[in-house]
Symmetry: D2
Subunit: 371 residues, 4 copies
């Protein structure tokens, strides 16, 4: 019996609404619209509050998918679309289309192959966000997605990408009318709380942290607690969280595998070297050869400025720059470090890494063709 195969396609975009590359995937028959299970996107906004490139890309993608499926755009909601704004430095805007083929003859050899599970949480009440309630629900959803993906155990999970809600003024008001309080009154700050609670939920589900030691008080506060495999982002357009779990499983038969690591700071090139090691790939004189680079399907990384102090003792100006947001500097830095080693700028580097890797660092994951 053929095993399912998880297919990934890196598709450039000329602007946030340019879905022509995705349409070409469909037109060429490389994937069918109904095979798409998730889309990640690196769009060219500022990645901050007024970054509308994320919503614009999502609207365009849902429009395309709906047209190809012959349904209304709203009926594509089961396909998570996680757009991350910010292509600072040399980062290249692109989509990462993830599809599952269940009826093909997978080319892969024996052994574990890339596996994917997708699910959602329940809709969070405003007072659940950024707290243990969100954390626990997220942990449960991670386990559910793992089961869905036939991933044997936590050690085989290499990335959990989550899009989670945030507190809007309307939600804060609703909580107040219900006689409940919220984790914060600041909508911007709620993004960090929600990303953090999601990341800690991943850590619990994957056995990186014990739920016992956690409480509302540590969320977005005790940054010594973190997951090495969570990558979370917050968006105002949803009330529940969407989860994408990526790992390796012998139940899957595609030609790709995934590995992960953790950058200890923004210039920790060694961490990426180690991830590539695990995939049987090594830079030659500082950078992948063209042949090895062709094996790389996707590079996913989180970036953030260190909360205090410098980078290995050297002062940086990310927090003091009132013209460019700190997260923009951080993405540019990590993008440069990884581009130098990999030899491409099509990298999914996103910001806002609360409880995702150590302070100033962050998780990284690479999907590559099996050898």
């Amino acid at each position: 019996m053929p095993k399912p195969a998880c297919l990934t396609f890196r598709v450039p975009m000329r602007d946030p609404a340019d879905t022509s590359g995705v349409a070409a995937l469909f037109d060429s028959g490389r994937i069918r619209p109904e095979e798409v299970v998730a889309v990640l996107g690196k769009t060219e906004g500022n990645g901050c509050v007024n970054d509308f490139t994320r919503g614009y890309a999502t609207m365009a993608l849902r429009g395309l998918l709906a047209a190809r499926l012959g349904v209304a755009p709203a009926a594509t909601g089961h396909v998570p679309m996680v757009m991350s704004g910010g292509t600072e430095g040399g980062l290249s805007p692109h989509f990462l289309v993830i599809a599952v083929r269940r009826d093909g003859t997978p080319p892969g050899a024996d052994g574990a192959a890339l596996a994917i599970g997708v699910t959602t949480t329940h809709s969070f009440a405003p007072w659940e966000l950024g707290r243990m309630a969100q954390l626990r629900e997220t942990a449960g959803a991670v386990r559910r997605a793992m089961a869905d993906a036939a991933i044997a155990g936590p050690q085989d999970v290499h990335l959990v990408q989550i899009k989670c809600p945030l507190l809007t003024q309307a939600k804060i008001e609703a909580a107040r009318q219900a006689g409940r309080d919220t984790c914060t009154d600041d909508t911007y700050a709620s993004m960090g709380f929600s990303r953090g609670a999601s990341a800690l939920g991943v850590a619990v589900a994957l056995g990186e942290l014990a739920e016992d030691g956690l409480s509302d008080a540590v969320i977005d506060h005790d940054h010594g607690l973190w997951s090495a495999r969570a990558s979370t982002s917050a968006g105002s357009e949803i009330d529940h969280a969407e989860l994408i779990v990526l790992g390796n499983s012998t139940g899957w038969g595609g030609d790709a595998v995934i590995a992960h690591g953790v950058m200890q700071d923004g210039i920790d090139a060694g961490a990426m070297h180690e991830v590539l090691d695990r995939l049987g790939i090594a830079p030659v004189r500082g950078q992948l050869t063209g042949e090895d680079r062709a094996r790389i399907r996707a590079v996913i990384a989180k970036a953030e400025p260190p909360r205090a102090g410098g980078i290995r003792g050297a002062r940086h100006i990310m927090w003091d720059d009132s013209d460019i947001n700190p997260t923009r500097h951080a993405r540019a830095l990590v993008g440069g470090v990884l581009a130098g080693m990999i030899g491409t700028t099509e990298l999914f580097v996103s910001g806002g890494a609360e409880h995702q890797g150590p302070d100033g660092g962050g998780p990284i994951a690479v999907i590559a063709a099996r050898t």
Copy 2:
């Protein structure tokens, strides 16, 4: 007879006017004020038109040096101070203080050591700027500085750092009244013309290009013509150009040497690998070890967005971003690439690389302790 030694000190700054690190060099006796021959600085402005951190740092440095020498600030004009704005990504603001010790006992072994020559051109008439007149005068000054530095030949020059003037509205008007025209009427554009003419002057002096093939028409126009060793910046506060020539010479006896290379594009990590090779240094698993890193005295690089197309075919958004200037993106990118390999963010990465390396790339140079 003791040979002179060229000493370099990398000094962090807390803000553009923070000269306390330089003062501490004097106070500790590591160098004497009269030994200072040049200062380079990476300041935390935007590196563009309204970057006043360059002038501010220069004013503060001249104030300190003048106080220590017991002269007026204006009397320190023989010491070039080349400030480059822009510490995007993780780049760390710092000064690079260069001194020459003529009476010490140099620690160095036999063989060539780091050598420095400093000079200025004549004051350029407005109609000379950005044209062959500036180019030829610059070439002559490079040769003069080489002689001053006892550098045997062009092959021993590894970096020519130049600060050159630009056209102001007042200069353009002066030209008009003299019945002469200028290379451009746009003051901002004149910066590129002046940097370009300076870089081509270096190329001629170093035998990289023949003067025959050059004319006013190619300056800031034919970007296939370039020097691998020029690093030039334009500033409104001067009428002449200041030159710093760095190379290796057996006439010098310090403990440092310099090597250079050329990045072919913004992610050409291999170019830096090669420069390190020449210094007997190699990254281990993607990055220098702490021991090797301690040997690095200075890293100098030019960065700029490719004029057309992407980076190895991948689209970048540097030219399309109306919020962040293209040169800021380019510095962030190259800063990340180099920080990943070197393992520090104290890097002198500057923008505006007309005729300095190929389109989208740029010269790099490293000063390191001799083994």
Copy 3:
């Protein structure tokens, strides 16, 4: 026989895709979807190259309109949607929905009322853009729209809002292959040429300038030539131009009228005072009373930094600021000047005023309820 009525509605938006205010207009029955003839929008992007809020708002609006009309979004192309990015200072993001009611009983008294005509030009060949060919075609279209609107003569036209195409790399390449040249090779610069040719076309159609004195050479060059009633913007998504002509006509019967004027510089409050005069409205102690303000339906203005010199001799920094684009400063300034007199920040202030009013100034128009 009832005359047609031109209705205008100012609708706030919470984000560029927030069409709920427009939907509410339909739901409340105030207008029917098929009555909509044009939509102007002030969106919260940077108004420059990478401002995707314009496309996002347009995509959302066409989606809404198509859903209400029961057609595909592409079938709404006959309704011009002119989005202008940039709500600097205190400017408030909003849509201006313009509808024509042909079957109602207009409330208006005798005399001229607000009239609207909408049309498009042919699709421009790349070599026509920014040249006399575009100018002449635009002039013809203005005359056609005037006829369509039953506007008696040029003196009754008070605003011609145009959205025109620009040169993309693809179009420039197409011209080259056809053996033709284009007005510029710089896509950004082509926006100014196209806006300028459109504005001069308006000037010719309205008799402000004679076609005789015009040529390719003056377009975006001789800024002493201008229209007092053109407001043009360029966008990459179209090949033809869309025109909206607004004036007063006795053939129309709504309750609104329009008047216009020209700001001579960015702080020319007197020009707005004069426009209000013509509408029988006067500020009291520097600002409209609430009652008069309620009569204001729309305020439309163009803003741009003066090309040279200061504002009445005082230096401004719009051109020297490498962090904030000059047009953003200009919109903020003019927005403040007009908000101070009118008493609201819901103003359609847009940038890029080539041949639209004198250097540093620009046309202004006000639609108000008839007394």
Copy 4:
């Protein structure tokens, strides 16, 4: 016996270090260096954390003043120099040099004339900042400066301009070592606390608020409490506060007077109309005539975005814009409103108005020639 005269000079600057206009004042004999008692400056930085134009201008000014007085720059510390960054919109960079002539024959008639008093507070301990200790000390200093200026009573004070310190990491650490806590651990937030405590100190000294009702808890928290005459800014270069009190007094004999008012929101043009009324000046058709404008010596205003809601119900995007800091939008808006009425862009509009006027509004003051 001749009365002292307070002289004010508005001097343009070409860049933050351009003191040539001030030097020209000295050279022309219009004022003598020793007559200078304070300098205000509007510099072209971002007005936020990394705005080094303030320090640069101050360094240049102290250098000039010291050279003219024949002292070291540090010996000019008794002359407050209050630089405010940010010339958004059309605001024009300029200095306002304030001098006192004690030996001249004042041209003024009888009646009160512009009076100035200058003083400093003690150096604040880190734990005093942003608290009642700072507030009370500031109130005492205001009273001292009033006495120094021979201003009869609080009703004759029209502006108290204060430069106050902020908490640096070093100060926070010093407090910790002393076993004391500070009002905040966030250095940026400490600027608001310090400005707020200073403003409330002014309110107490001028009888606008009773000290009884105040406590640490209200500072930068209860924004319903405010002074109509305080204008405060925080800077890291000082440990004490510098105060400039401006009012009218019969003990002074110059040709100028001052009046003040309060903008209720950012577009409250009526408030400026009222201030002008008090000076016997009225706009004609929305703007001052050239003759009246020539009477205006200085316009000083505070600007800030409203903390919640819009401007008269219309949404603004100041808080949501991650590209341009909110205070930059606010200065641009208020600058436009005031420039429209006054007819000049040489306006001292500064941001950060905690407890200075109502939420979203701010104090305004005008110095004008007596009639």
